[in-house]
Symmetry: C2
Subunit: 260 residues, 2 copies
Amino acid sequence: MENFNSGESIRMLSKNTVKFIKSLHQKKYRNQEGLFLVEGEKSVLEVLSSSFQIHLLLGTADFFITHQAALKAYKGEYIEVTQNQLEQVGTFRSNKDALVMAQMGSEEPFGLDQNELAIALDDVKDPGNLGTIIRIADWYGIRKLVLSPQSAEIYNPKVIQATMGSFTRIRWFYEELESVFSRWNRPVYGAFLEGENLHEVTSLKPGVILMGNESKGISPELERCVDRKLTIPAFGQAESLNVAIATAIITDTFKRILSA
Amino acid sequence: MENFNSGESIRMLSKNTVKFIKSLHQKKYRNQEGLFLVEGEKSVLEVLSSSFQIHLLLGTADFFITHQAALKAYKGEYIEVTQNQLEQVGTFRSNKDALVMAQMGSEEPFGLDQNELAIALDDVKDPGNLGTIIRIADWYGIRKLVLSPQSAEIYNPKVIQATMGSFTRIRWFYEELESVFSRWNRPVYGAFLEGENLHEVTSLKPGVILMGNESKGISPELERCVDRKLTIPAFGQAESLNVAIATAIITDTFKRILSA
């Protein structure tokens, strides 16, 4: 494989580069290379101005012209490509802007301070849900996310897309949640269908908001770690809410109460 | 085309039936035939027990055995098929249960009573967002939805899927929202990035929750119809929230205040 980090300018998109980028559509090669893809105007601009290390930037002529000022600080490799080429190497059906190959960050476990809120995900599998939850966390200023080992992979292009750049502002790691919770020793709040009515809760402490798998909810083993069960009150007949929707409503309530 | 409503039993899945069902993947043929598809175990069971008229039910042997009791009331046409056949005629990548061909309901304009809440969508384009919003409406007991003519089509299989059966409990129609709002003459609440802080709002009246397009928000023409602008407070750096997420948080706040 070519070394994209050589400091030399690459002028043309070679067949080998195309092949290399396309290999990163798969988790196996992402992990092997320690690289992942970021696609689309907004996400690419966000990752370029983040602390992620960039190995290659592909952009259309339009993209380079429109974002001349924002790109001034970028000193790495880049190739000007056509929209067609972008769509061929990337995962987006339509991408008239840019694509970046970035280096995965470290996913070292971190602690949780007394005044901090974190989100914990127990086997959330859908990439769109995970990405949306990261965007919600970022909106509400929650910077810490912990995921069970079977949860979706954040570097999946669908997750990255759904975060709309918010993955650059969140820290995360994957680990069995029981161990994390016992180490953190902070209150764990779980979303259940039969808990305290969220609309009647008046006092909450910073801690962990635990959300469960799309179909199975929170596993029985983790249920034992939950200090308070919370329920979004239903007024109609839908059996459940999507996990990202539920995360948003619960997080909103935490911020509503904690910052009042 | 065959008449699936003849009352006679169809034993085999004919080539013509396959072709007919597949044509309903496209909006053009859905509108021409007045029929749409419902796929997957939960959604099919929901539509079978709803007031929608069913023209044909395809199910696997497993589905018919598992849901014998629930299917007793169903007197229409059905064909037993394999999982493979289901996946061939439908839009789901994986469907081991059932698919239904149902007749579109009427979409006659309705009024809005003084004590009712409705959701209005200004050009919400993404089928997943629209379906999720319908599921949220159903969760919160909101039965009325009005959509601008350029919004996504509810009978799109992706919308139907995302509603998880909730489309059977919601009424809707498509019309220019300005006309609807002036006819209803009820308070219109719009989601904006610079309005009243939703966490500080203490009094709300029943009326219309207006949500805008995924990238453009609420159009300037409609902004003029808005009585109160509401904003979900941001604590981090995400530029925006997904429209379905925002709908959920605002709707939750309405129910929190109105039912207190």
